[in-house]
Symmetry: C2
Subunit: 236 residues, 2 copies
Amino acid sequence: MDNLFLRKVERQVRLPEAARAALGDLARQQIRHVAARQDLVGHDTGPHHAHLILDGWACRYRQFPDGRRAIVALLLPGDLCDPYRVHRIRADHAVGALTALTVARLAPEALDEAARAHPAIEACFRREMLAALALQREWTAGVGRRSAIERLAHLFCELHLRLAAVGLVADATFPMPVTQPDLADALGQTSVHINRTLRELRAAGLIELRGRRLTIRDLPGLKALALFDPAYLYWA
Amino acid sequence: MDNLFLRKVERQVRLPEAARAALGDLARQQIRHVAARQDLVGHDTGPHHAHLILDGWACRYRQFPDGRRAIVALLLPGDLCDPYRVHRIRADHAVGALTALTVARLAPEALDEAARAHPAIEACFRREMLAALALQREWTAGVGRRSAIERLAHLFCELHLRLAAVGLVADATFPMPVTQPDLADALGQTSVHINRTLRELRAAGLIELRGRRLTIRDLPGLKALALFDPAYLYWA
DNA sequence: CGAATGGTTGATGGAACTCAACATCGGTGG
DNA sequence: CCACCGATGTTGAGTTCCATCAACCATTCG
């Protein structure tokens, strides 16, 4: 199977054969498995490798000294994590596995090399960065100005499109392995309130969530509730 | 006067003479003045120019259909706005002037050209992107997990460092031209509550705010309250 | 100089948090 | 295979932080 990053990319741009091959090769080096709840990159890690998520879900998060935790991004299969070298002494956040994870570790030198050799790859990396930035802005806007139920609805709309872009949605159903405590940290709430809000969404007939799988029962309704505008999703 | 972007950059890396000259030239083309409350880039603008903020403050914001507004980033003098070409049909957010503004409009072609000719400039652009991303993550974490007073304190710590990096801080005092309604949209609160929180910060002897100028009276105290960790600020 | 915008303060309400208890699930080892 | 245990999910009661509503100043700007 080709990797999902390629699949996502090629929905939008046609890559030259050589570039596709180079990207494919990159993803086949240094496959690593990480257990759920383990960190790929710690808060105190210095400059580190890039990662391509092959399977499973991860998150970027920030741990505060008093124990509070904020999940600032979800990383899904096909996502490319930190394509550009980060020159900081100390990372400003960590990357952790939410589920069991399969990733390709990518050496910064190999990425630089590939980007230099293939302009199309450089363009992909740049697009991934711009996509991450736009996504991050939307998350900021969401926690700032959306209500609890809107935030949850919005996240589900976003996941629906992002997962569809890598072919992981069938019949408006997709994997949703994020626990309620994790959802809470991602949406800036408490797990108790997440639970009540989920109940509301179910009661409204908008979603169904069982056994780590989510089915969207009423997509238009969910989008309307979430004030969802897909303009910020580059790859979807 | 050299532009502030250059000043900020050269605090960290020494640029080759040719690169510095090229960056300087870029910033001297197409100077534009924008009145406060005007948009530089609208929500429905397609691919657009990049901008270098020469003087005044701007913000990225997202306007929701029902009137709510979220300010997702503050753009200060010396900030480079969208160095990389954005290929979206429709922007996912707008850029507006918070004060009267002087900017250099930069043609995407000229930027591409400069980046290709000078690796040091390419590195600068990349760094600016990474800095914007890290900043955006910190804002997401903040609105998600910091209390009202912590958020305000954190913003002031951030502005202190960012403005210091371009030489706009003297005696722990710097310009703070953002109105309380704007602060509210940036921190995900209401202007009424911003007002009360400011009062608290003043009462605690941490800051002084008069006539659009902010003085930090107790920086360690403010940092402690904000759980401030500067790791995310690339240029400061 | 008057109108609009921004700032300040009080009273009241509500969305989301906290605390607490219990149910359920999933994995692990006896 | 089942018993156990920790992690996750669920629900209720009480509380808190921040929003809302509503005035009223202060400032700025046309």
